[in-house]
């Protein structure tokens, strides 16, 4: 029996559609970095790296806002001092302000309006001081909670009202993407999804709280439905987590190899203190445990790949944390390139 031509045509159309939908799309990936130090002066190595990676955007932290218990007010600290204004003029700068969650516990709505005004004023003063081009985007960074959500969102609204020209973005943590019911959606134009610090730092049996594919997968399901456009942040840092009597007792950003060799290595990333030792002026006692956590390139690449599947935007900014010669020297250039490259097709 001959099949009707109409059916054949329909089948052909369907096949073409299926093939078309399987075709890869190209995405424009904009490489970016965070600069998180309070003195802006790039070393030669850092400049080379940024150049070789064709980094066109730098998120520069201008200052932190913390709660001053003595003065009972929110105050700026760690204000940026720029030693190298030339570089800043030749790159797209996104000024970032980090605000501790505690600030929003303490402030009422009047004080929040004043804070927003102060923050925007200080950002504008930096722009004038260093004669930078008008900022296209400004970013607020705060790990808000259910309790501070209302006040933090009000703060963001006030920032937008005071400083309407640039696009306003906010950092978003993975748990805030997953639990939008309690975390809410911040009133900004875009978010930067921080794909790090995803595990439970203070849990003694965690493996790597900075980045882990398994942890990421717990949150990944919600990314593609998040109602804000998202840029992506990925980590390039490491630290040692201290546990005493199975309780979290602090962090060390680095420990000299000569000191580390005096500890007993009990597992791939676990060390036990076997004699009382001073590290950076802090006393470690016998029995204390250290857990080394890092941003292993394979893991970062794996998370980037998973993210790539979730994101459908044709343009994406991928931001690595952070621009620092010690950190960058641990990764060959091609490894960092691969992170950006892995997100160029979807």
């Amino acid at each position: 029996m001959n099949k009707s031509p109409a059916i054949k045509i329909l089948a052909a159309i369907i096949i073409v559609c299926i093939i078309g939908s399987c075709r890869q799309h190209t995405r424009h990936v904009e490489p970016a970095f965070y600069y998180w130090k309070s003195q802006f002066q790039l070393s030669g190595f850092e400049r080379l790296r940024l150049d070789s990676l064709q980094v066109s955007t730098l998120y520069v932290k201008l200052f932190d806002v913390v709660w001053d218990e003595l003065a009972q007010r929110a105050s700026p600290v760690a204000k940026l001092v720029v030693r190298d204004t030339g570089f800043l003029k030749n790159i797209n700068i996104i000024p970032t302000v980090f605000i501790t969650n505690e600030v929003f516990y303490k402030l009422d709505s009047t004080a929040i309006r004043v804070l927003a005004r102060n923050v925007t004023s200080l950002i504008k003063k930096y722009q004038q001081l260093y004669r930078l081009t008008t900022f296209k985007e400004v970013q607020m960074d705060c790990d808000w909670t259910t309790t501070t959500r209302r006040k933090y969102f009000y703060f963001l609204e006030e920032i937008k009202r005071e400083y309407s020209e640039p696009e306003l973005s906010a950092t978003i943590r993975l748990h805030q993407v997953k639990y939008t019911g309690s975390a809410g959606i911040p009133p900004v134009q875009k978010g930067l999804l921080m794909c790090y610090n995803m595990g439970t730092l203070q849990q003694s049996d965690a493996v790597n709280s900075i980045i882990s594919v398994k942890e990421f997968q717990q949150y990944a399901g919600a990314i593609d439905t998040y109602p804000l456009p998202l840029d992506i942040g990925l980590p390039l840092f490491d630290w040692y987590v201290l546990f005493r009597d199975n309780k979290y007792a602090g962090l060390f950003m680095s420990i000299k190899p000569s000191l580390l060799s005096r500890f007993r290595q009990t597992d791939k990333n676990l060390f036990e203190v076997i004699e009382d030792t001073l590290v950076d002026g802090r006393r470690l006692k016998v029995g204390d445990r250290l857990r080394y956590e890092n941003s292993n390139i394979e893991t970062v690449q794996a998370v980037a790949s998973l993210l790539n599947k979730k994101l459908k935007a044709s343009r994406l900014r991928v931001v690595l944390y952070h621009c620092d010669s010690v950190t960058l020297s641990k990764y060959p250039s091609h490894e960092l390139e691969s992170i950006y490259r892995s997100m160029q097709h979807y």
Binding site: K79, L122, T200, L278, R283
Partner: protein, 803 residues
């Protein structure tokens, strides 16, 4: 649903919830960095307030982050001295710190060129303005004008301004400053200009220049001023930026000891400059003489959280009269209080340290504790001997403090004879008010420790000291509008409050408990809290958790009888435990012991009955501790006691319905266990993490509260009194629920390793499910309507009977 699957699902959900950061942020409090070990030695004892930032705490980088001396005020005082003390400080302060440059310009030009002094009244009337008008000192005025030009480039003007470094202007100011330096007529102004130039070069990141300018313009200047150490610190900072760490550390050490001004800043500088702590010798090699070595060693000592007698000995050998030595000695004593006294006292009384939350933050296993005591004992003895020796040599600035510290060390070692002898020696010397207070406290501790039994005669003997300590503890307390007492944690009065608390809670209360005197234990605990901030109340918890009914009655009789000795009267008057608390508790105690007659008799006397929003006779399929939505039934302890009493009588007299009465009694008993609906008839607090486990050293009440054994026996009596299979099924079901509570659930912290815990937990679940009554329920009452309904209402039952 399988029990294990259900548990696994719950665990996963719980783990996920626990993973959400806000839960972690919300859980638990933080350690108090000024109150995390037992202490009785005043950190202010050396009376060296300038070193307050460096008093001992191992929980913060500094004891106090504020500079103890205000730099501006010190500079103002120098200017006052410059005027020959003719101008008041407030006028100098306003002139130097507040008046705008343009007005000072006007004054300058008026003096220089006799231009009209169009100044605001407030400025023309100012004493400093008058001084300059009289003295016509253009050099000084000119300097002030120059300094005001420099200021915006080296100081933040407003916290909401960016940090500005206008290099070109700063270079111009340096050039101008050098010209003015050359033209200066006195060492004073050459020093001032030199300081400003060094400062400008430093903040302009021209570190080599900053160093050169210091060497050329400041180093040889003989003028005495705080600008000397301030300039030296700027050079030290420049050396640090150039990574000349040793030289930087050396100069920061010098600046630190030259003046109390910016002492915190200089200490930070030293701390950062010391890159290799272990390489002390290479830093010390830069010191020019013994005094400088001693000074640098003292900064190394400040960095050390461990006892460090060797460094103290070195400092003493090099420069016995070192100013900071007394502070270092007090720090060592505090270190030993943390590392020796606290574990020693915890060992003596089985970790029951209620005064501070030591237990919760620094829990040592017995083996770790013994090890620590063993490690620290000999060094402490060496330290005591050293202090004794240097006290006799009298080369230190404060030999009395050395004797006192040695006495305190001997007290910690329980060497009371030596402590007594050292206290005597200290007492014979001239003591500052602070040392007198410390002497009294250490003496009191030794006296109590030496006393074998604390009896009425001894109490009378120590009462004046206790009262004295109480007065010191209450000094400087401050009440909020809610009447809550507050203490600034690191203030001196706060320490005395803690000394009183520690003495009453961790010394006297423990001694009374060891003597079996529960009343005095309670009163000592309650007195320790009487000055405290609102929070965890150990005394009332002790009353409610440890006293049975006879003890509670005895306590009530004692308090109401008011036949107090002066010591007892003092404790009672200054106490968180009130007669009303005890009166209420006696009734509760009798309820707990099922003495309903006595409970009724006590509860009837209460002025007010506490409303409990629960029905103690509710019959539920499941355990529920919170009030059910829509439940409006309330009761009181008195109503409950009366009903239980009536039910017991009815069970005897109304034989026809005895089973129902017995069942209701059983419900009344079950609902006042940990698992019951009306637990708050007999308890004041219920933790969600208790249950299915009888705590060690449990009282009879606690045993019953956590096992529901008596309730089980009454359900059994009800079963035996009835012929109705439906009713019997219900009783057996309840007996099974009671019986399950008697299977002890393993607790993670009780086992050395997770594998053992896991094995025992598996065994626990097996025993929990294989309850003897469930199989009986199925085999004997499996055809009853109750059983069939139970299977639908209670999904676990299906699992239990299925096994």
């Amino acid at each position: 649903m399988s029990w294990k699957v259900f548990t696994a699902v719950c665990s996963i959900i719980s783990a996920a919830l626990i993973s959400v950061p806000q839960n972690i942020i919300g859980c638990g409090g933080g350690i108090d960095p000024y109150d995390y070990y037992i202490s009785f030695f005043n950190q202010y004892a050396a009376s060296q307030i300038r070193y307050r930032p460096f008093f001992y705490t191992n929980e913060l980088f500094l004891f106090d982050y504020n500079e103890p001396v205000n730099t501006q005020e010190t500079l103002v005082k120098e200017w006052v001295s410059f005027t020959g003390n003719t101008v008041p400080e407030k006028d100098v302060r306003a002139f130097i710190m507040k008046f705008p440059a343009k007005d000072i310009h006007t004054l300058y030009y008026h003096i220089e060129r006799k231009t009209p002094p169009t100044l605001p009244d407030s400025i023309s009337r100012n004493g400093m303005s008058q001084f300059f008008l009289k003295k016509k000192d253009l050099e000084a005025l000119g300097y002030i004008l120059y300094a005001k030009k420099v200021e915006p480039h080296v100081l933040p003007t407003d916290e909401w301004e960016p940090v500005t470094r206008d290099s070109i202007t700063m270079d111009k100011l340096i050039k101008n400053g050098l010209q003015l330096y050359k033209a200066a007529k006195t060492d004073l102004f050459r020093l001032k200009y030199g300081y400003q130039i060094v400062r400008l070069a430093h903040y302009n990141n021209h570190y080599q220049d900053a160093i050169r300018y210091y060497d050329e313009l400041v180093a040889g200047n003989p003028e005495k001023s705080i600008l000397q150490p301030m300039s030296l610190a700027l050079k030290a900072g420049a050396l640090f930026r150039l990574k000349q760490h040793k030289e930087s550390a050396y100069l920061f050490s010098k600046a630190f000891h030259m003046s109390p001004v910016k002492i915190v800043s200089n200490y930070y500088g030293f701390n950062w400059a010391v890159v290799k702590e272990a390489d002390r010798a290479s830093y010390l090699s830069l010191c020019g003489n013994d005094r400088e070595k001693a000074e640098m060693l003292s900064l190394f000592a400040l960095q050390t959280p461990e006892p460090d007698l060797n460094t103290l000995k070195s400092i003493y050998r090099l420069w016995p009269s070192a100013d900071i030595f007394s502070t270092l000695v007090v720090r060592e004593i505090n270190k030993y209080e943390e590392d020796y006294l606290t574990p020693r006292m915890s060992k003596e009384y089985e970790d029951q340290l209620n005064g501070i939350y030591y237990y919760y933050y620094y829990y040592y296993t017995p083996a770790e504790r013994d090890s620590l005591l063993h490690i620290r004992q000999e060094p402490l003895r060496d330290f005591v001997n050293f202090l004794q020796h240097i006290a006799t040599e009298k080369k230190v600035k404060d030999p009395a403090l050395m004797y006192l510290a040695a006495a305190h060390g001997a007290y910690m070692l329980k060497d009371f004879a030596t402590a007594r002898s050292l206290l005597t020696k200290a007492g014979q010397m001239s003591l500052s008010p602070r040392l007198k207070d410390q002497w009294m406290l250490t003496n009191l501790l030794v006296t109590i420790s030496q006393q074998e039994v604390i009896d009425a005669a001894f109490e009378a003997n120590i009462l004046p000291s206790i009262k004295w300590l109480y007065e010191k503890a209450s000094e400087g307390t401050r009440r909020t509008s809610e009447g809550v007492l507050l203490h600034e944690s690191n203030s001196e009065p706060a320490q005395w409050y803690r000394f009183y608390r520690n003495l009453m809670m961790d010394v006297l209360a423990k001694r009374y408990e060891a003597q079996g005197d529960r009343v005095k234990t309670l009163l000592a605990m309650g007195s320790s809290e009487s000055l405290g901030i609102a929070g965890y109340k150990s005394a009332i918890s002790y009353l409610r958790n440890s006293f049975d009914s006879p003890q509670a009655e005895k306590l009530y009789d004692f308090l109401s009888g008011k036949q107090f000795t002066p010591y007892e009267a003092f404790l009672v008057a200054n106490n968180t435990i009130k007669l009303a608390d005890v009166q209420e508790f006696v009734g509760t105690a009798y309820l707990r012991e099922y003495h309903y007659d006595k409970a009724v008799s006590w509860l009837q006397q209460l002025p007010q009955q506490r409303i409990i929003e629960k029905n103690p006779f509710i019959d539920l399929w499941f355990d529920r501790e919170e009030r059910l939505p829509g439940d409006t039934v309330t009761t009181t302890q008195l109503a409950y006691a009366l009903e239980m009493k009536k039910l017991h009588e009815l069970a005897k007299t109304d034989k026809a319905n005895a089973a129902q009465h017995l069942y209701k009694i059983a419900l009344g008993l079950y609902n006042v266990t940990y698992y019951g609906y009306a637990w708050n008839l007999v308890e004041y607090f219920r933790s969600g993490s208790d249950g299915y486990f009888v705590p060690p050293n449990a009282t009879p009440f606690q045993r019953e509260y956590y096992t529901a054994a008596t309730a089980e026996s009454y359900f059994k009596k009800a079963l035996e009194a009835s012929a109705d299979p439906e009713f019997k099924a219900k009783c057996l079901f309840m007996m099974a629920r009671c019986s399950q509570k008697q299977v002890a659930k393993p607790r993670y912290g009780d086992y050395a390793d997770y594998d053992t815990y896991e094995k025992l937990t598996d065994r626990y679940y097996f025993d929990f499910m294989n309850n003897k009554y469930y199989s009986l329920l199925k085999s004997q009452y499996g055809q009853t309507a109750f059983y069939k309904e139970a299977l639908t209402r209670c999904s676990y039952l299906r699992d239990f009977v299925g096994k």
